[in-house]
Assembly symmetry: C2
Homo-oligomer: 175 residues x 2
Amino acid sequence: MSFCLEESIEILSRTPAVLSTLLGGLPEEWLHCREGEGTFSPHEVLGHLVFGEQTDWIPRTRIILESGESRPFEPFDRRGHEAFTVTRSNAELLREFAALRSANLEALQALQLDERALDRRGMHPSLGPVTLRELLASWVVHDLGHIAQVVRVMAKRYREDVGPWREMTILGPAQ
Amino acid sequence: MSFCLEESIEILSRTPAVLSTLLGGLPEEWLHCREGEGTFSPHEVLGHLVFGEQTDWIPRTRIILESGESRPFEPFDRRGHEAFTVTRSNAELLREFAALRSANLEALQALQLDERALDRRGMHPSLGPVTLRELLASWVVHDLGHIAQVVRVMAKRYREDVGPWREMTILGPAQ
């Protein structure tokens, strides 16, 4: 096991700047490209991350600390971001994500979690019992996964343009 | 086809800041973790990117413009970065990459490539004939692929720590 709360906060605190550096001010074609139907564009990834800040990580942390396994988490709505995401510019979503993340990490630090608190268990509505430590580790991995998704979706815009280099791993199997 | 030289330069110019935001100042465990034998750690990805700036993208661009298909590119040495990478700190590699990338993009812009120049062909030692446009599109995809690799390698540090969330796509198949 490798989890370290301090390092996790450090990594989580960087994600808004990483995405802002990657995406800020890019032409619309790069922000709205996607890999296929039902998948997220970079713009929608931002909406999904904003929605996670609002409804997932810190709310679930509080449920674990307040109610333990007796109160299952609200199921996360994978499409809950859609309504507000289409009405926001990319710059607005980047700002909103940065503000929410910053407030949530302050809230997390204010909880002063020790190893005993990280061992506390909650009830995921489909995965079953989980610890607070597992929830927070998943927050980090979730961020990193969506950064990987954003750059992969962007790379695929040039799938044909690379010619014989189309065997590059990130472009996925030839189609 | 989606390639646009101006947009490619825009994306290429951001990679050093993206990697610096992701990695700058992180504990050594995050910089030197890897997915398996023979794969790159985040630190080695930086070394590989530095080596690409020195030997791959702009040198090959010049070969295409000066000699066309008559002079095949030097084969790229996938291990050519190893000797200097072990002697450099991560901060040094981040600085070196940023400086080389900046100089290379200036050199690229100074060439004032038009569509006709982008159509020019060179000879890849194993892939065969390629156009300058394909080379430059591959530079962009190569950057994005290695950003994805860095965050994937980082995410896998927490593969066990996430508990029941280990089905998350970026963690890969269960082991």
